[in-house]
């Protein structure tokens, strides 16, 4: 048991060092070690993402700052996204997503965000680490009620490029969903806070 734990630790260290070893090359002429960074992406390179995972409802916050439980179950989340690189690191795109979670009374909360998103990708071949920020509109449905409002989705991902075209990874995206009501419903205004943790398939083209 202890031996297998040590092996796993060694493997993890090896994986972490791998990008460093790949990026570090020996200069054959002067014998000095220098970093040679080859741009992986350029303007026009595109990506298509398929994401699926869980949605963790975190909390609701009122306009006065009061924080309350959502009472929702852990739900599911999924999305399709497309992005195009502006340069080696910066990319723009759009995303169509969806989530569901179930209330104690078996009511199903469904949210469908349509967002524009911008990302900044750190490269450590064969790994990519995109930082993401998306914003757009979100359709929130609960039984007969529908609310259309804004959504803000900051997050980050981790990808392992298994081939030149395909990468697999993990997303961790925060959903901040303001529901602002006016007049008689002013007291019902809430900021919804959710955390999406999803697996992702990424296709470069």
């Amino acid at each position: 048991m202890r031996r297998s734990g040590s092996s796993l630790l060694f493997l993890l260290v090896l994986l972490l060092l791998l990008p460093v070893m790949v990026f570090s090359q020996q200069d054959p002429e002067n014998g000095e070690e220098e970093d040679i960074v080859t741009p992986m992406y350029s303007l026009g390179d595109q990506m298509f993402f398929i994401n699926g995972g869980i949605m963790v409802p975190l909390f609701f916050q009122s306009l006065t700052g009061e924080v309350k439980k959502t009472n929702l179950s852990i739900g599911g989340a999924g999305s399709l996204a497309w992005s195009a690189f502006l340069n080696n690191k910066l990319f723009l795109g759009a995303e169509l997503g969806g989530m569901f979670a179930v209330s104690p009374l078996k009511r199903v909360l469904i949210q469908i965000p349509i967002t524009a998103r911008i990302g900044y990708m750190f490269h450590r071949y064969p790994f990519d680490f995109p930082l993401l920020f998306g914003t757009g509109i979100i359709f929130t449905k609960l039984q007969e009620e529908l609310y259309v409002g804004p959504v803000f989705k900051p997050g980050f991902s981790f990808y392992w490029n298994i081939t030149n075209e395909w990468a697999l990874g993990l997303n961790c995206i925060y959903w901040w969903v303001p529901q602002i009501y006016t007049k008689d419903l002013k007291n019902s205004s809430r900021f919804g806070n959710f955390l999406e943790i999803s697996f992702s398939g990424l296709f470069h083209f």
């Binding site: 959502t70 609960l142 007969e144 259309v148 602002i180 009501y181 019902s188 205004s189 809430r190």
Partner: protein, 367 residues
Amino acid sequence: MKTVISILLIFFGVFILFSCDHGPIGIFHSLEVETDLEDNDSLENTISVGDMIRSTNDYYIAAGSVFTREVSSGSEWSKVPAPSGTDIVYENSTEIAYAFSKVFAVFSNAAGDTSTLFELKGEAWQEVSALKGKRCDVLVYTADSTGNNESLFISVRVSGAYSLYYTLDGTTFTSVPSLTLSRPVTDGAWVSDEYWLLSGNTILQGSDLTSISEGSVKPDTTADFGGIHYSSNLSVPFISSDDGFVYIYTEDDQWINNTTANEDGFYDFTELLIDGKTVILVGSENGYKEMVFADSPGDTVTLLEPGVSRDSLSSNINYINTTLSINIIRNFFIDRNDDVYRIFACTSGDGLWINIPSGTTRVWGRE
């Protein structure tokens, strides 16, 4: 730049436009006030409950059959066998009353051409001989705030009209002389040493039951009255009407009411004290409304939506998200046990609901 600003304005305009039409509570807010729905599970959730009473140790409801359970929490409901020994199948009962330490109920047959007053003796129903052969209809119990001055009224159908019987001891039943009503007496209260009894749009008033008659103190409406309640805390009577108004007869001898009619007609009241405030609930064709009084009523009546309004106190949990908020509540029954209020809501077709404290708030569940 102008294009970007225009797009942003259109974008926010669209979601503001969409977000204008909503129910009585925001989506996230409604989830916030939701918990698992407790259900006693021993009572059908689709029954119509006419009324509810408590004897010393047991609750009773009239819901077609009469059901009973012990007062202690978690007790299961069981059916009280219908009256036997006759050739009529008694199965329809929506009237029940507890007066003079006795349980009374009216049972009618399936065809609805007989309706008889019975008293529960032990586990068997015994016909009240004083009203034998009469077509008994609604039972109305009144008493003062201390439980004294008990009276039980029975509307008796006579050739398309109603006469009124009463008992002051549970044994002797007397007819109010020279009184013929077009509608049965549906509710009553003991108001400042007077009986106030509702019959359609009429209020019978008087301290002497042998001469009770239509009174002069009455809200200015032609609508039928739904319920009456005398607040022992506020020392004022409340009357509801089926056109969506609640009237309060203030200490200044003035009627005040809500300025805008509620969309649904009102029925019965109940009262409790929460955080030192008097909380009055009034049942309606769509759930119930709430009135909160820190002091005497002011110039108008403010009706709150329970579980939605920040000022409402009776139920923050599992009201607006459940069918209780959209079903008819004709009657409330309140039971104060060791300073803990249990409120029961008798619905039409949606069973019996119970409201109990839960932490710092109150929660609705099913019986």
